[in-house]
Symmetry: C2
Subunit: 222 residues, 2 copies
């Protein structure tokens, strides 16, 4: 039974990879940078996206794809900011896939977008396995989740280029060891950038925006 | 493609349900109550289990099955409390299943256990779909995750008998609306008990222990 499931999973992943590549090529032609943002439920994906829109929408033309098992509460919040947004409901699925992203792309005004932020389903496991055609992968780990998470969810930490450590304003109340966390992340993924942030106090948000702008510039120059 | 995946998933769920029933019957004969504890990563499953062991191990004979994608950091902590524990690594799988639990049961001193706490993989989605043969299902929602989670992960909130709202000590710093949260949970699952707790301050822990003891008593009397 176990082997059978594994084979099926490989087939699904292979089909997804092909569609992911097609998305990547399509976005490349359109000159759009897509960033896949992943985290546990409630780590602050929507808050970081909303704050990024608020602070950067005069500088960067953004769009958003919202992934959720159910509801459109997040997309509704983005929509209030007058940024183009599409909600994808996975109907029980624990991650977005490349095919769903294709449908999302078909429903966005792509000529008005340079940076497309994708909020994946809240999940540290399945989301890391399915590429979407994104150029960059970012994860958010919130302080209350604890500094031991790289040991417990290694694939996610291996697959991303940036780890935003969110809710830093709660640091005085928690026993989160940022040094131990950073060592654990670097042990899995030497090149990962770790940016501690708080959308509430604004701490670290400029470092995150600088990273985004640097990626956009290096694409335009290439 | 979508339909094919769905069929496969139904087969897997059906096979799991059969094994889950066998586990339930086996535990019934042994007089053991198994409780499946689910939550997002870092919501406090291990902390609640450790605190429950610390406060109740003189009154209730407990055992633990620890589920993780990787590592044994949680089982190591339980082991220090001299309570029988088995670690199950799912090797990438986003939930425990009934077959894995069967292996866990085979490796525990069942004659010395009345209450078996199962710490599921940190995940609000897949874990809710796979029954393990448990008599009771409990979820933990930590305050920093936000009060909108029932809208976004409805199946989990529908499937449990108790929702422990953890990290209540952080309440003064967060905008968590407990009334709105409770209404949302009750809208999905009228009978769910909601118990706000803090393992740090001890708030609500007695209500949780009373619930556990009540379930154990009602089983012994039936």
């Amino acid at each position: 039974m176990a082997v059978k499931i594994l084979t099926i999973k490989e087939d699904i992943l292979e089909a997804n990879d092909a569609k992911s590549k097609a998305n990547a090529e399509f976005l490349e032609k359109k000159g759009i940078m897509m960033v896949n943002i992943m985290s546990s439920p409630g780590a602050g994906k929507t808050t970081v996206i909303l704050k990024t829109i608020e602070d950067m929408k005069d500088k960067i033309r953004m769009g958003v794809i919202e992934g959720d098992v159910a509801s459109s509460v997040d997309a509704d919040k983005i929509n209030e900011q007058s940024v183009p947004v599409v909600q994808i409901n996975t109907a029980g699925g624990c991650h977005l896939d490349a095919n769903q992203i294709k449908h999302g792309l078909d429903n966005l005004p792509l000529d008005d977008i340079d940076l497309l932020l994708v909020e994946n389903v809240g999940n540290l496991i399945c989301t890391a396995e399915f590429t979407l055609g994104e150029q960059k992968r970012v994860m958010i780990l919130s302080l209350p989740e604890g500094h031991d998470k790289p040991y417990k969810y290694p694939l996610m930490f291996t697959e991303v280029e940036v780890v935003l450590v969110s809710k830093m304003d709660l640091a005085p109340l928690l026993e989160f060891d940022l040094d131990e966390f950073s060592s654990a992340v670097k042990g899995l993924n030497e090149k990962a950038e770790i940016i501690p942030i708080s959308a509430k106090t604004g701490e670290g948000m400029n470092a995150w925006y600088s990273w985004l702008e640097k990626q956009l510039r290096s694409r335009q120059n290439s």
